[in-house]
Amino acid sequence: MISILVNHWPEFWSGFLFTLGSSILALIGSLIVGTIFALLEISEHKWERIVGRVYVEIFRNIPLLVITMFFYVVIPMFITNVNGFTAGTIGLTIYTSAFIAETVRAGIEAVDPGQMEAARSNGLTYLQAMTHIVFPQAIKITIPPLGNQFINLVKNSSVLAFVAGFDLMYQGNLIASTTFDTSNTYLAVGLLYLILTLPLSYFMRYLEKKWA
């Protein structure tokens, strides 16, 4: 395993960076999209709630692979060419945003509704009350589950291997097919994934315990 890792280090390293890059881009994207749909879900207007709910339910119940392949296969046919990395990252963003919307919604709902009422009766607008009063309190509740979503993102980014996204899994497959030493190559790939996910996972468990 070590010799494969050393001999093919440039490929592994570039795959590692693509995996990390895709995960970070998708995290930023899905935080934005997820928060928007979380706000829609708890909106005061019925139609906004329905839109939020439908988005979340649809994308939570469809495989990430189907969403990713949709952007890789269908979008180029009708709209514009998309490379594998972009298709994969967009797929990851949409899929993860549904889960993040649920996490953020749960965080906001965990804040005592009296906080919102008090803020509103003190003359703050809905948006002001949300950004200055409710959000800062909700963040503490949402951080550990958001961290777990990021771990899932890193793991799920392996779906880029399906669409030639040059990520760690894709490079691993290339190396496995040239060296024929499949078992050791996949062990090396696993080691590199663990470097990303394991420390984060222990840190989130520590935070959960500390803030509980």
Binding site: I62, P63, I151, N156, T182, Y193, L194, L198
Partner: protein, 218 residues
């Protein structure tokens, strides 16, 4: 529109449904296996047997933090390298079971841990043995807490079976790819069908769990 009518011919629909059936079968087998193995591992990690529980915990953490796709590649392409040659169905079930058992074990452990420790103390001081307290007091409360995360884990499992298309397991995603591979006009209808079919199966499972949840009065 003509594309859709043509794409949803009885032959294609039947082919998709055959794929769906494989998806459901593989999922069901993996759910049963991972529930049993994961449950045992979770208990083992919770009861704290010296060294053994720590070791089990470490292995669970490693597996949980790897991509399922990697485990699938390992079981299908990696194992033959060390002399074990599973076919696609065996490799898929093996990979799903290994991965999901680790996930289930973690859910079981945190479910038991979420029960107020005062419950155990109260049961013990009322004269129950550890086993009695576990069986009659702790587990019934813990199970209520475990059901929602377990169900969403199993929904994930159903969605993740689509990954096995890469080892040519003839499940739903694979069959859809074969159909749209023959005719590019079928691409859009097939993706729509995939979305609808996966959604129905996954949503039905979460719906069932909500009913179960209400019945148990959680």
């Amino acid at each position: 529109m003509a594309n859709f009518i043509q794409a949803y011919s009885w032959l294609n629909i039947r082919y998709l449904l055959e794929g769906l059936w494989i998806t459901v079968e593989i999922s069901a087998v993996s759910i049963v296996f991972s529930f049993i193995i994961g449950g045992l591992l979770g208990l083992l990690r919770y009861v704290k047997i010296k060294y053994l529980s720590a070791l089990v915990g470490f292995v669970i953490d490693i597996i949980r933090n790897l991509p399922l796709l990697l485990i699938l590649f390992f079981t299908f392409f990696g194992l033959p390298n060390i002399g074990i040659k599973p076919d696609a169905i065996m490799a898929a079930i093996l990979a799903m079971t290994v991965f999901e058992s680790a996930m289930v074990a973690e859910i079981i452990r945190s479910g038991i841990q979420a029960v107020d420790p005062g419950q155990m103390e109260a049961a013990r001081s009322n004269g129950m043995t550890y086993r009695q307290a576990m069986q009659h007091i702790i587990l019934p409360q813990a199970i209520k807490k475990m059901i929602p995360p377990l169900v969403s884990q199993f929904v994930s499992l159903i969605k993740d079976t689509s990954l096995a298309t890469i080892i040519m397991l003839p499940e739903l995603m694979y069959h859809a790819q074969i159909i749209y591979g023959q005719n590019t006009n079928f691409v859009l209808p097939m993706f729509l069908a995939l979305a609808v079919l996966y959604f129905i199966v996954c949503y039905a499972l979460s719906w069932l769990s909500r009913i179960l949840d209400r019945r148990m009065g959680a």
